[in-house]
């Protein structure tokens, strides 16, 4: 198993796209921090970029990588190795390499410019988001054997979580404005890992005072000790569940 993981990591790290991704992240982070006059604003702009780019790269890169290594997977299946092991080591290998490139690309600038709790939370969130979207990529690529369909699906998932979901929340907020539903809508928003990460970071900044009533609700639900536990549980579920489904499918797959 370890040898497969090692092989996957080395294979990915040699990939030019992942190198480009690392350099892009580093350039964006450094320029964000030097453009903004204080580091908390730099963090905020960086947060936006991370929440947009990291899931996109994670999901599309992983999907393409899995499709491209289908022959390698078939080769491994013909060997006396458990299917579980193959899929899990592929998952771990992809995640490790994406996290390494995120930490080099964005983590180092963040630690240099803003070595505080919020910075560390932001790095954590970047890593978690990478893992979540890799896990979704595994689900996409197992559902369809057609590469184009799989990539299309992963783009759609990214679009859904970073754009359409917010539109849905906005729609709900306007439609249900006359009812005391804010708490429930806030909970629904928390189901989206991107929204949840954004709000977790915003709550750590002074800006939370601007969030008004819903901010207070969120602070109560997600800001306290139990809240942090609750939101991390949600995020961990996002990391595991799509991958588990894909694992079951992979074990049953027969062609």
């Amino acid at each position: 198993m370890n040898r497969i993981i090692k092989f996957v990591i080395l294979d990915i790290l040699r990939n030019k796209i992942i190198l480009f991704y690392t350099i892009l992240l580093a350039m964006l982070s450094f320029s964000m921090f030097s453009l903004e006059d204080n580091e908390s604003k730099g963090l905020l702009s960086l947060l936006n970029l991370i929440l947009l780019n990291v899931p996109l790269v994670a999901i599309i890169f992983s999907t393409i990588y899995i499709y491209n290594s289908s022959e390698f997977i078939e080769l491994l299946i013909s060997q006396p190795i458990k299917r579980n092991k193959i899929w899990i080591s592929l998952y771990l290998g992809l995640n490790t390499s994406l996290i390494i490139s995120f930490i080099i690309g964005a983590g180092i600038p963040i630690l240099l410019y803003s070595p505080n709790l919020i910075g560390i939370i932001l790095i954590f969130i970047g890593c978690i988001i990478s893992v979540i979207f890799t896990s979704l990529a595994f689900l996409c690529s197992i559902i369809s054997r057609d590469k184009a369909k799989g990539i299309g699906m992963s783009i759609l998932i990214w679009l859904f979580f970073s754009l359409l979901f917010d539109g849905l929340i906005m729609f709900l907020l306007f439609q249900l404005a006359d009812y005391p539903m804010e708490n429930w809508i806030a909970l629904i928003a928390a189901l989206n890992p991107i929204d949840l990460s954004r709000i977790v970071i915003l709550l750590q900044l002074d800006l939370s005072a601007m969030l008004g009533f819903t901010g207070a609700v969120f602070k109560q639900t997600f800001g306290t000790g139990w809240g942090i536990l609750f939101s991390s549980t949600l995020l961990i579920l996002w990391m595991i569940i799509p991958f588990m489904i894909s694992l079951r499918k992979f074990n049953k797959k027969d062609h």
Binding site: K41, I169, E182, D195, A209, G212, F218
Partner: protein, 411 residues
């Protein structure tokens, strides 16, 4: 001819000498302030020497001067109102006054001035009192260089630092107030000036103004107060050169204006407030040469405001520069500097050639549905704002600065 003039002058100079000094202190003829007071006549000075005096409520009904030497302490033992001034022309200087009683029925204060004029309260320190200095129907009084502090926790449990009610021509200069309910409170006070005070960390407002016409407050610092500064139901107020800092919280404002008219807000700085200025029902106000820096909202202008002119201000680094709650715009924006302005200046006249719309779509939407802040800083909101900037369709048409500056106003 020369001699009578000389004699008259000499008489004038000598006149104060006719007044006595009565010394109070452990080593002096009088040990009690009350005793000295009963023997004093108008124009006398009672010199209070070092020591702690616990004499309950001291009522001053003569025109005397209370002068503290080496900071004597007057203690109210948490039971009494300490100094009640009921005569005009009293001067209180150099005392430490502490621990007044607490009662919501008659509002005891460390120093309370009842229906008299020309009182001067100067260089005192007021510690942990219910009300600090309380003026009630007092005119032409001066409150200068006092240090007023308390450790208030709840609004109901503590009074105001300087409380003025139904007074005229009051001068409040150079005081430093913290830990009270409102730092300075004005109700029905006219023709007065508040100058160079520092009011910070008060539970409610740094300065609270109600029904007080023709006043001015100049060069004060209002910092870290629970809800900032509020000016309500008042005409002709002048607000110059003040600092409104770090009034940060769910319901905090740098400056809250409600039902104000014909006033001036010039050369102030609003830094790090949730809302720099919140305006409701304000008319004919000139907002000029102010700096709005790092606020959540620079200005919140409700649709009930009319004929206000907002010109030559700097808006720097605010999350939202302006927000409003309706589509009706009856105010003018001109020649401001907006750091979010993205236009150009071809004719090099230092003003942008493209008008600037300070209202972002998201701020308008949040005003109508505050829960939308849930989506604050999300990708979709950024996208909406950008598209609205290019093709304005939902934000009010005439909410516009036709002559935005390219560089910030030097103030």
């Amino acid at each position: 001819m020369r001699i009578p003039v000389f004699i008259i002058l000499l008489l004038i100079i000598c006149l104060p000498i006719c007044a006595k000094n009565i010394h109070v202190g452990a080593k002096y003829s009088h040990q009690k302030i009350k005793k000295a007071l009963s023997e004093a006549h108008d124009e006398d000075t009672i010199v209070i020497h070092e020591g702690t005096y616990k004499e309950g409520n001291i009522i001053i009904q003569k025109k005397i001067t209370l002068l503290g030497i080496n900071k004597p302490v007057l203690d109210g033992q948490n039971k009494y109102e300490i100094l009640s001034i009921k005569s005009s022309g009293v001067i209180v200087q150099g005392l430490i006054i502490q621990n007044s009683g607490f009662s919501t029925l008659d509002d005891p204060g460390a120093i309370k001035i009842y229906n008299c004029d020309n009182v001067i309260i100067k260089n005192n320190e007021l510690r942990d009192n219910f009300f600090g200095i309380y003026l009630q129907q007092a005119n032409h009084c001066k409150i200068e260089n006092n240090r007023i502090h308390a450790k208030g926790v709840e609004e109901q449990q503590i009074g105001n630092g300087i409380h003025c009610w139904k007074s005229d021509s009051i001068v409040i200069v150079g005081n430093k107030i913290n830990g009270h309910r409102d730092g300075i409170y004005f109700e029905f006070v006219t023709n007065s000036i508040i100058w160079r005070n520092i009011s910070f960390a008060n539970i409610r407002y740094g300065l609270h103004f109600m029904f007080s016409n023709d006043d001015a407050y100049i060069s004060n610092v209002f910092k870290n107060n629970g809800a900032g500064v509020s000016v309500m139901f008042t005409h002709r107020v002048k607000m110059f050169n003040n600092y409104f800092l770090y009034n940060w919280g769910d319901a905090a404002y740098g400056l809250l204006l409600k039902e104000i008219s014909d006033s001036y807000i010039l050369h102030n700085r609003f830094i790090n407030n949730t809302s720099g200025i919140y305006m409701e029902g304000t008319n004919r106000i000139l907002v000029e040469h102010n700096t709005f820096n790092e606020n959540g909202w620079g200005m919140k202008i409700q649709a009930s405001c009319m004929d206000n002119v907002i010109r030559e201000n700097n808006f720097l680094g605010n999350t939202f520069d302006i927000s409003t709650n309706g589509s009706l715009v009856l105010n003018t924006f001109n020649e401001n500097y907006w750091d979010k302005y993205e236009g150009y200046d071809l004719n090099k006249d230092k003003f942008g050639d493209v008008p600037y719309r300070p209202l972002s779509l998201f701020s308008v939407m949040v005003e109508s549905n505050s829960s939308l802040m849930l989506l604050f800083r999300s990708f979709m909101v950024n996208l909406l704002d950008k598209s609205e900037k290019i093709i304005p369709s939902l934000t009010p048409e005439n909410f516009i600065d036709n002559k935005p500056r390219m560089h910030s106003v030097v103030i």
